[in-house]
Symmetry: C2
Subunit: 584 residues, 2 copies
């Protein structure tokens, strides 16, 4: 038996007990006549003590040789600690060691195993097993485990069945790029790894399972942006005989359950907002509603003067920045530079300072009167001391630019508080999205999403105007879940595929199994999927998702620790009937 207790367990009541502990050496303090060792395991730290009076010379000698991260087993007696440490759970006691075994030695770790480490990102990833020993990372992994357990508890309690769907499936042309897997048993053919279990969960509804969920890995072979992984985890759910209202209720319940059980936060009914309203008020379909700074459209107020920039703009829109009137000219110039960065893309920014004396000072003073500016202040809700930032141009681009500015300023002003939670349902998404480049429409959610009742005909005349039974759950400015009521009859599904540019033959070849299933009695159904990585990160305080993943990949899709992906040998390629066309 390696241990009788964990390193986080012993208390004053255990004094005089004979114990065996195992763990890692966190720290050795050698004061000559006495040596203290902090022994660490997952559960905590316990102080071991060795001294010349009470410890045998041999054991004391071994204790002096211990290095950081050595794995040891210590046997001894729990004793009262002279200088108690109230910041440590085990701070009332220490263990006077009489037997010490080194279970494994350790080289000096490449970075310190402390809450604040000196290891950079790459080094920590390469030695992820050492990084995980650090409290902040260990706790994040435990936190993730707790979140998934609570998700399962809630959904099981609601009658959901967890069903495993296959990982080796068929490639589909819609959505992101698939990872493919050559099949040795079926030459020249490939499996694909699922981007989501979408069609399978719909088949389970056709199969009568009524309420399905699964916490499942999904895969997308996309070029990686920061903080995005080629494999990610989804809480995937589907229900039969439901309308949108039913889904929103069940998953509002799940989210409340998590906020309560995990964060101790109780929240009432989640507000709802249409996609159009979210775009109008926040320029964003996943607005952070923890703070105001709502958009005010100023066309009517700003286009009656001689300022051509505004007059020629499709949209003139502003926000009030609390306390922004204090910004220096230099700070405002920097802000203007910020909105003009290519990532944001605005041409410029008009500002109005709302002075404490009730006067206004703007960058367009020669075009507008104090009364004009006062009207803008009223529209944006700006008070004395605030700054109004105004962008103008094409509606959708301008909204997106101002939304970026709003989020950036909120971040700088500390308004995005990690322990405050503002959930929001965004509903009535457009069914289709126009791809500007190709001039064709593609599904905004996915091709199985149903249009709003009665809007099927509108597809023929004004596809962009059709709204879908689709909804997103937004938390603190992040989309944490999204779903829709699905099409459940093969005729509507065929119409949908046609509008997405599939020929009937292509639709049949790719999705024949699903449309066929719909012909044998498919119930009305719908569902939702949550991005677990993002959800966990936000619940855990909105840090990067990477820390909550045990073995993440870097931005090249590479696991730096195990050096994957890697070349495979010629024999294996031959067996798979593959040739590599290596760059020469």
């Amino acid at each position: 038996m390696y241990r009788s207790h964990s390193c986080g367990e012993l208390r004053a009541k255990d004094i005089n007990t004979e114990v065996t502990l195992s763990g890692w050496v966190q720290k050795v303090r050698d004061k000559g006549f006495v040596v203290w060792v902090d022994l660490r395991d997952r559960y905590g730290i316990t102080q071991l003590v060795f001294d010349e009076e009470r410890t045998s010379a041999e054991v004391l000698e071994v204790a002096r040789t211990l290095g950081r991260e050595f794995v040891i087993q210590a046997k001894g007696k729990v004793i009262d600690r002279a200088s108690k440490n109230p910041n440590m759970a085990t701070g009332d006691i220490e263990v006077l060691v009489h037997t010490l075994n080194i279970l494994n030695e350790a080289q000096l770790p490449p970075f310190t195993i402390e809450d604040e480490t000196d290891g950079g990102d790459d080094l920590r990833m390469k030695y992820r097993y050492l990084d995980i020993r650090r409290n902040p990372i260990k706790e994040k992994l435990m936190f993730r485990s707790r979140v998934t357990m609570e998700v399962r508890n809630y959904l099981s309690g609601q009658g959901f069945i967890e069903v495993e769907t296959p990982y080796l499936i068929k490639s589909t042309p819609e959505g992101a790029r698939d990872f493919v897997v050559p099949s040795r048993m079926n030459e020249g053919e490939f499996y694909a790894l699922p981007q989501s279990p979408q069609t399978f969960k719909q088949l389970l509804m056709v199969g009568g399972l009524d309420k399905y969920f699964q916490i499942v890995k999904c895969f997308r072979d996309e070029d990686l942006r920061a903080d995005r992984q080629p494999e990610f985890t989804q809480i995937d759910c589907e229900m039969a005989f439901v309308e949108q209202e039913d889904i929103l209720n069940v998953f509002e319940g799940l989210t409340k359950h998590l906020l309560k059980e995990i964060k101790g936060v109780e929240i009432g009914s989640f507000p709802r907002m249409t996609y159009d309203e979210a775009m109008r008020r926040y320029g964003n379909d996943k607005p952070d509603t923890r703070f105001g700074m709502e958009f005010a459209e100023l066309n009517a107020l700003a286009q009656q003067r001689d300022f051509n920039v505004f007059n020629s703009a499709e949209l003139v829109v502003g926000i009030a920045v609390p306390g922004g009137a204090e910004y220096t000219r230099k700070e405002i110039d920097k802000l203007i530079d910020w909105v003009r960065r290519p990532q944001v893309g605005a041409k410029g920014m008009v500002y109005v300072k709302c002075n404490e004396d009730g006067s206004y000072k703007s960058s367009v003073d020669k075009f507008y009167t104090q009364e004009d500016l006062a009207a803008w202040a009223e529209a944006t809700g700006a008070k004395a001391g605030d700054l109004i930032c105004i962008l103008s141009g094409e509606t959708s681009a301008t909204r997106s630019q101002l939304s970026a500015l709003r989020m950036e300023l909120a971040e700088r002003l500390g308004l995005r508080k990690p322990d405050e939670f503002a959930p929001l349902w965004v509903v009535d998404f457009p069914l289709l999205e126009l791809d500007e480049e190709s001039g064709t429409y593609h599904a905004m959610h996915h091709p199985f999403t149903s249009p709003k009742p009665g809007q099927l005909e509108l597809l023929e005349t004004d596809p962009g105007a059709v709204r879908a039974n689709a909804y997103d759950l937004v938390l603190n400015g992040n989309e944490i879940g999204g779903g829709s009521i699905r099409i459940h009859d093969s005729e509507t599904q065929a119409i949908m595929f046609r509008h997405l540019g599939f020929s009937p033959e292509e639709a049949e070849a790719q999705f024949g199994f699903l449309m066929n299933a719909f012909r044998y009695g498919a119930p009305p159904h719908g569902g939702i999927a949550f991005g677990l990585d993002r959800l966990v990160a936000i619940l855990g305080g909105q840090e990067t998702i990477r820390d909550f993943i045990a073995f993440p990949k870097n931005n090249s899709g590479r696991d730096v620790m195990i050096d994957a992906p890697a070349p495979v040998d010629a024999a294996q390629l031959k067996e798979l009937n593959l040739k590599l066309d290596m760059p020469s």
Copy 2:
């Protein structure tokens, strides 16, 4: 709202309640003036009634058009049922329908949606979504979900953390063939899909997580035998600071928990048996101990006469078949044919009938006296009325043949009772296994398994004799779990790789990350993995695993429903830098 109640919910107390039900039409009985419809959903069946007196003509007309598996919504009043059906949970009531909506029509299903269907295996797989509507399959999927929930409940309660390990990893040369995934971002390189998360869970132990589990898909690109899947699910567990005894205790606890919660069966301490003993007593390292028929080695009793077949054999071994003395000559000949089939491989079989009058009749009467045969009967435990079956030859082949015969006869005799559970720990497995063809050793469990303490030197002189800290959990003749205490220092791991034929360079290239991790303070650790598919099937009554998998693959690794794997187009291959060398 599609329904106020499920189809399994209404009882006599609900009489006079106005309800809305939705579901599938199981059956329509049209008696002219009255039409009964059995409406089915996941939760049960409720009888709907329409009659000329109380139902409007239009609704009655629609009811008459309903076909099997139509999806409908019915509104009406719960009424007392004239002829109650005590076999149905809802058999006291029926619903008198006043409003009927057809939500979706259905083509005639290709097989009947009944507990006993007329659909063959292939047809049921092709229309798996219809198969799942059948109670036996639906209940198996629900059963699987319940088992996994109970596994999680137990392990969470024991302090295990569920950690997701990556699916896109690096190919390893050990074990079965890997599925590989070409990487677009890293040209010429491939990920592999994991055969198990073995090295990752060991890294988590190095990382101090102490107790890890995961219910996880694993992948093996093997030619498929019946009832084996290229993707399968594992309950994967690892613990630090443990000896074999600790692991056996925790996972005996898990198994007891499942037997109790799922099957209502309470079982005491699980028996333990060494690998050598299991081979000697049952010819098998996963013996079914629900019944006797143990092996009796008869060399000493059978090799003192003139029967050369026995005299020249390394092993003469028999079992007693209860009631087998009744077998006719023809039946016994068939049994002999059975053991001589190539799949079994015996040359022949000697038998002894233990007659009710105390006499013996054998196929070797001219070599052996009645006293000889009586001694065999005593050794095998055969009683009057039993049949002794004896095989002989090289030890390991003969044991395996007799084991096959024992299992076959037990099956025929109904001794393998699906509701009886006989768990067994098999321990002290050999560390290495000799590959007869190549003359080289490979790891019996895997290359990370530690030899028994003090046996490292024996590796140099007699590798086949070294025993491992490895154990299997056997349930009813199936290995449901297997694991080991791992090597946790890089020196021992290097010695192990050398014995498995790796050069130091190969070992470093493949497993350098693990051996490196061991140098930074790896704790002693060990674990176990359960095959979830098999475990669920055995708990569910030992049927084929396929029924417990929502979307299984056939023996060609093909999902017949979605027609995967499938060819991918040239553009995709080009992007992946792959060429296919199609057979011409």
